[in-house]
Amino acid sequence: MTTPEAAPAAVKILVAGGFGVGKTTLVGAVSEVTPLRTEEYLTTASVGVDDLAGVGAKDTTTVALDFGRITVSDELVVYLFGTPGQERFWFMWNDLVQGALGGVVIADTRRLETSFASIDFFESRRIPFVVAINCFHGHNTRTAEEIRAALDLDPHVPLLIGDVRRREFGKDALLALVDHLMTLPAPA
């Protein structure tokens, strides 16, 4: 087989958060292409695809995710994956999670609790992340300290407050993640 040396290598960053919090919006704000949509079949029993044989389609769930790309160079492309909104599905999508550089958890100050599960998940899988508080229309009335306390964030986890529709905010969140990664030892 010919190894395509001309092909770029890829890395991925996950964009997570609760239902309707603006994941695809952030992906779209920084992606060089309009976010693409793809789907996957998952089984609610969290078994491997092999085990689907003989199992009716009703036992599988179709989940959709949106993703974008940032071409760094001829050799390197970053893919940004917005995780499916219902945590119980993306948590068992191993291919989505494995090998991620890190994650951006988007949270909305009016309903912070919808992002708890994403934070728990990244912590349990030891995937480094930053938290981006989506504050649009000036709705945020809470300080960063209050939000940190409410999310029970480790002090070293970066937290940003802004509007995910703005490309600059998306860039800042991604840059904060990369800077954060640079302070961490390589994963085992």
């Binding site: 087989m1 010919t2 190894t3 395509p4 001309a6 092909a7 770029p8 290598a9 890829a10 890395v11 991925k12 309707g20 603006g22 994941k23 695809t24 919006t25 779209g28 920084v30 309009t34 976010p35 693409l36 949509r37 793809t38 789907e39 996957e40 079949y41 695809v49 092999d50 389609a57 179709t62 989940v63 959709a64 949106d66 993703f67 790309r69 940032i70 760094v72 160079s73 390197l76 492309v77 970053v78 893919y79 994956f81 909104g85 219902q86 599905f89 291919d95 989505l96 494995q98 090998g99 550089l101 490309r167 860039k171 991604l174 840059l175 990369v178 990664l181 640079m182 390589a186 994963p187």
Partner: protein
């Protein structure tokens, strides 16, 4: 719905964006029809961000030009799309097929020597390499 986004909502105010679709993916054709019933790829090394590229002039193990036989239309479509490198997720979105189905078709083509696959970069690497990779990613984001 490949690459789909409803007209009029190009992630503009899309705070309700990503979630409304999840139960709307009813499919009329059994999902694994195009794989002739196979539910697992021949190879398990294809990930969402494995980059695949069509081999320009494929040769067999004896160095003779490969003439692929019995390819399905989807296979030929993939070979056409992957003249420029695409991640597995991009191929799936482009074909409008679920990732797992796409991987089976891609695995066929890699196995036939018609498609090259490049694995994602691992972060479990030497400290210097890791720093260089992250610095490159940072530069790419800054240029946005």
């Amino acid at each position: 719905m490949a690459g789909g986004r409803p007209p009029g909502d190009p992630y503009g105010d899309g705070y309700e964006d990503e979630d409304g679709y999840e139960d709307a993916a009813g499919t009329m054709v059994r999902p694994y029809t195009v794989t002739r019933g196979r539910t697992a790829p021949e190879r398990d090394d294809l990930t969402l961000i494995t980059v695949v590229t069509t081999v320009e002039e494929p040769l067999d193990e004896f160095g003779r030009p490969l003439r692929p036989q019995r390819l399905q239309p989807e296979h030929r479509l993939i070979l056409d799309r992957c003249r420029r490198p695409l991640a597995v997720a991009e191929v799936a979105a482009s074909l409008g097929l679920p990732v797992s189905v796409t991987k089976i078709l891609l695995g066929d083509l890699v196995g036939l020597g018609l498609l090259g696959a490049r694995a994602p970069l691992s972060m479990a690497r030497a400290a210097g390499d890791r720093h260089d990779l992250l610095a490159a990613v940072r530069d790419g984001i800054r240029r946005l």
